[in-house]
């Protein structure tokens, strides 16, 4: 699954950067996050409760920050196991640039989801991921730099946009006659 997007945040680049490195902020922003502990400046362990379609799971995972380039961005990678529900692994490149008084945050996500999650939730993974990303940035924006309502509208561009394109452009074929 690939996903990319950008967000405008009403805070300085430094402030955004610090927030991106603050486990307390991240913990509040990650949907379903029950714990996030810093093991070293670049390593964290996380516990996240998620539901994708019919599959509910608690993920225990490791998160690592790579390619640190303060305050311009980093690459965050992680992998988590949801036990019998499956696993997820992947990473996101995050880039920060000044945007007037605020900061423009761009991200590119690449993730693999495996196990029962992929078997049962296959059709829902892309939309769920987008929803989770929305939730993350809503919260992040609220905590770090709230913007006037209009400007805070999510600017996420999931690669497969529009229901028509999602329907026909999908990799999964539809069952023959439904």
């Amino acid at each position: 699954m690939d996903m990319s997007g950008e967000r405008r945040i009403a805070a300085s680049r430094k402030k955004v950067w610090d927030a991106l490195n603050d486990p307390e902020i991240l913990k509040q922003c990650i949907p379903g996050c029950e714990s996030l502990e810093m093991q070293s400046p670049t390593d964290m362990t996380a516990r996240v409760k998620l539901q994708i379609g019919p599959v509910k799971a608690t993920f225990n995972g490791k998160v690592k920050l790579n390619d640190l380039d303060p305050p311009n961005g980093y690459r965050i990678t992680g992998e988590g196991s949801g036990g019998v529900a499956g696993y997820a692994k992947g990473g996101a490149s995050v880039h920060l640039t000044d945007d007037g008084a605020g900061t423009l945050m761009r991200y590119d996500v690449k993730a693999d989801v495996g196990g029962k999650l992929a078997q049962l939730g296959g059709r829902l993974i892309d939309s769920t991921a987008k929803k989770l990303a929305d939730e993350f940035f809503e919260k992040f924006t609220t905590l770090v730099g709230p913007m006037p309502a209009a400007a805070a509208a999510p600017a996420i561009a999931v690669k497969k946009v529009g229901w028509l394109k999602r329907w026909f452009g999908r990799k999964d074929p539809l069952p023959a006659s439904r």
Partner: protein
């Protein structure tokens, strides 16, 4: 007083013997919900087992932590490969001569592979226990694409045999190679291709699908420590083979193992193999001393127990310009998944795929099959077909259409020109089979007339012209398939499974009152054996079918047999029934001769008894003879009236058929409509026309499913992405087209009653027919071969690729 003497017709009708549309006797219990399936078996103190399965397609298992699971209330034990090693059962032999992990031993090789078996007091506790087992993985590169399996840098899957370069079927040339199997004459075939006027070469793939029976695989194992006896109830298509394998593996003497296959809710090949669930349930019962039940859920069934097909067939035909085939060359890349657990007789690692010359007179042919390992579930069973016969039929029937298209010939005419002719039977095919009988031209001509073939082609030509003029967005396809099956495995000279020869058996006991019980080595999974077997006996010995009970599935009472799959029940066990019945009839004749005070040779059989030739009023019915057999047998003759027959067939049987499909496709939506489907089957002697029709309907529906969308699909990291009925296509009455059935009768010359088997023909012939219809619809727009499955989306993609969407 006027007592009407029943007429001959009335006496015959009363028997409900062969040829009668007798209603299925088993349906009385099935339609009232009174069937008795494995999950209905409930024993005192019974425990439940459930699997922890791999989330990864290929990974090292670094740690299995069961400490939390063992604290879950109700969980009694967690069995892992380490536990099984103490009883030497961490690995088990497969039917194909390979070995397979029962539970992950160091690594996992496909998603949902069994890792640990949690035993608990009930199903819920077992499921909770499964969730609490923590498995630590280290993922490894995944091999999903069969065409990359033999690359020098392909991931090494089977570390256990990496240095073993000879497998059960000869040398292996790569760490992911299982076997190479070849048939036919390579030199003659190559020479024929070298001088051929026209040739075709296409990769024709038969995708991975799954038999998906309504009832999943399951068992209850109960070990009696005092007696040292093991009883296993299970969904077994071949209960005796399971008993023998269980005995060899467990070292429990075979007479102390009782295998019972109760009612089975569909098998279609999925229930032939031996699965880790059976082994684990047995071990758990031995360990705990209590009965242990294991029942697969739907996802487990679709993703872990035997799949079918996954054959990539590079098919070449050589022909003359005027349309006579001169040679066939096929190379198959056979994807067997992580372990070679396909169910084929020992000597045939690609089953009877060498029937791929089909119904056509190929002077020479050459076939090579390479079996390979991938990170997918093991299997390769015959999903409603004889071993690899659907693959072979699809291969040749698609290739014949492609060649006809290249020659510019009508596909039906091309077939008629190349059929094996009636006078050529028994026919020796270029790939080694002796076709026992057939009359292909008669069947094809009857079918063409029935569907109005000429008119259909004329209509199609008009529609194509209209489409090109832009007057319609619908295209019309006419699918043809003329298949020859090879069923009834099989003659012991060339068929065995793990050394067990593939005969079958029947024991008939006629009781003193003239009722009877027949016990069989086969096992119905819905085929209607209780109905049809009784009909054979009824005709053979004149006892009404209603007075005959047919019993199968209990290895203690049934004679040894190889079970039901590959349409072998009627060709093999059906013959055993006739032979056993004839032994009874012979004894009855001796008794009748004594009672009527004539010589045996002076008697003749008359529907339900013997009569003296020329004196029809002097007769004895079978009922009377049965009583006499027990209570007043002739001096010197031992009492009783029973017989056992073990039948080793002299040859296979070769059912055939002509199928036609008319399909209309909307190129803008990819939606197809099946306007007409006509199926003519020749299964030799017809025992019960109603059951045949039902079998054909069922088989065609499965063929429709497979051709038009039913698939087990893996993504690039080895996830099964359609492992539930939400995504796996099971047609309902809404999607299923209307079926028209027809027949010709060409009895098998070597079978006691001339029957050939029919349950699988419609699947064998149906799939190519649907696929040919889709291909035929698009052919005039320049396509050559469109791969299955043909779901709406893929059809739409084809139209899009042709630039039809503007």
């Amino acid at each position: 007083m006027n007592i009407a003497v029943p007429t001959r017709e009335q006496r015959e009708a009363k028997l409900e013997g062969m040829g009668c549309k007798r209603k299925r006797v088993e349906d009385i219990r099935f339609t009232q919900g009174k069937g008795n399936y494995v999950d209905d078996v409930k024993l005192p103190g019974m425990l439940f087992g459930d699997f922890v399965r791999s989330q990864y397609a290929h990974a090292r298992v670094k740690k299995i932590d069961d400490s939390k699971a063992l604290k879950v209330p109700g969980v009694l034990a967690v069995i892992t490969a380490e536990t099984l090693k103490t009883v030497n059962l961490a690995w088990m032999p497969t039917l194909a001569g390979d070995v397979q992990m029962v539970l992950a031993d160091g690594k996992v090789l496909f998603q949902n592979q069994e890792i640990a078996f949690v035993v608990a007091v009930d199903r819920y506790a077992a499921a909770d226990g499964v969730e609490a087992v923590e498995v630590e993985y280290e993922d490894l590169p995944v091999l999903v694409d069969a065409f990359k399996a033999l690359a020098p840098d392909a991931p090494l899957l089977r570390e256990d045999i990496k240095d073993k370069m000879t497998g059960a079927h000869g040398p292996r040339r790569h760490h992911n190679h299982i076997f190479e199997w070849s048939m036919g004459d390579k030199d003659l075939t190559d020479a024929a291709f070298a001088k051929a006027e026209v040739t075709t070469k296409d990769v024709i793939s038969y995708h991975r699908t799954h038999p998906s029976p309504l009832e999943t695989c399951q068992c209850v194992a109960s070990f009696d420590k005092i007696k040292g006896e093991l009883t296993v109830w299970g969904t077994f298509q071949a209960p005796h083979v399971i008993r023998t394998v269980a005995s060899l593996l467990s070292k429990i003497p075979e007479h102390k193992i009782h295998v019972i296959a109760p009612d089975i809710g569909g098998g279609f090949g999925n229930k032939v193999g031996a699965y880790p669930g059976y082994i684990c349930a047995i071990v758990a019962s031995i360990v705990t001393g209590k009965p242990v039940k294991w029942v697969e859920d739907r996802i487990e069934n679709l993703t872990a127990t035997s799949f079918a097909r996954d054959y990539h067939m590079t098919t070449e035909i050589a022909a003359t310009k005027d349309g006579k085939v001169t040679a066939l060359r096929v190379h198959v890349l056979a994807d067997h998944g992580a372990f070679d657990a396909c169910a084929d007789p020992s000597k045939w690692p690609a089953g009877f795929f060498n029937i791929c010359t089909g119904s056509y007179d190929f002077p020479v042919a050459h076939l090579v099959v390479d079996g390979i390992y991938t990170n997918k579930a093991p299997g390769g069973v015959a999903y409603r077909c004889s071993f690899r016969v659907t693959e072979a039929a699809y291969c040749i029937e698609r290739a014949m259409d492609i060649m006809a298209q290249k020659l510019g010939m009508d596909a039906a005419e091309f077939r008629l020109k190349n059929f094996v002719r009636r006078e050529q039977f028994p026919y020796h095919s270029a790939l080694g089979w002796e076709y026992d009988s057939g009359d292909y031209h008669t069947a094809m001509n009857k079918a063409m007339e029935a569907v109005g073939y000429k008119q259909l082609r004329a209509e199609q030509a008009e529609k194509r012209a209209a489409f090109k003029r832009g007057e319609t967005r619908e295209i019309m396809g006419i699918g043809i398939s003329f298949f020859t099956e090879i069923v009834g495995a099989g003659p012991s000279r060339n068929c065995d499974i793990l050394g067990v020869a593939m005969f079958d058996s029947c024991e008939i006991r006629v009781h003193p009152t003239g009722a009877a019980i027949a016990r069989m080595g086969t096992k119905s999974q819905g085929q209607g054996h209780e109905t049809t077997y009784a009909q054979i006996i009824a005709t053979e010995i004149g006892i009404p079918a209603d007075d005959i009970m047919v019993e199968e599935g209990n290895t203690d009472t049934a004679p040894y047999g190889l079970g039901t799959y590959g349409s072998r029940s009627t060709p093999v066990a059906g013959a055993a029934i006739a032979m056993a019945a004839r032994k009874i009839k012979a004894k009855a004749q001796m008794i009748a001769a004594y009672m009527l005070e004539v010589h045996e040779a002076d008697l003749e059989w008359d529907i339900d008894g013997f009569r003296v030739k020329g004196l029809p009023e002097k007769s004895k019915t079978m009922k009377e003879l049965a009583w006499a057999a027990y209570n007043s047998p002739p001096p010197g003759l031992e009492p009783g009236l029973e017989a056992v027959s073990y039948y080793d067939p002299p040859n296979m049987t070769y059912p055939f058929g002509a199928y036609f499909c008319v399909m209309d496709i909307d190129v803008d939506t990819g939606v197809y409509k099946i306007r007409r489907f006509y199926a003519l089957d020749d299964c030799g002697t017809r025992i019960n026309p109603m059951i045949i029709e039902g079998q054909v309907h069922g088989g065609l529906t499965e063929a429709f499913a497979i051709a038009m969308g039913q698939e087990i699909r893996y993504d690039e990291i080895g996830n099964v992405v359609n492992g539930s009925f939400m995504d796996f296509f099971i047609p309902t009455a809404v999607e299923t087209p209307k079926w028209e059935t027809d027949y010709t009768v060409t009895p098998s010359p070597h079978h006691p009653i001339g029957a050939k088997g029919v349950g699988e023909s419609p699947n064998v012939g149906g799939v190519p027919c649907f696929s040919n219809a889709v291909n035929d619809a698009f052919a005039f727009l320049g396509t050559r071969h469109i791969q299955m499955p043909h779901d709406y989306w893929r059809i739409w993609e084809v139209a899009k690729g042709l630039g039809l969407h503007g």
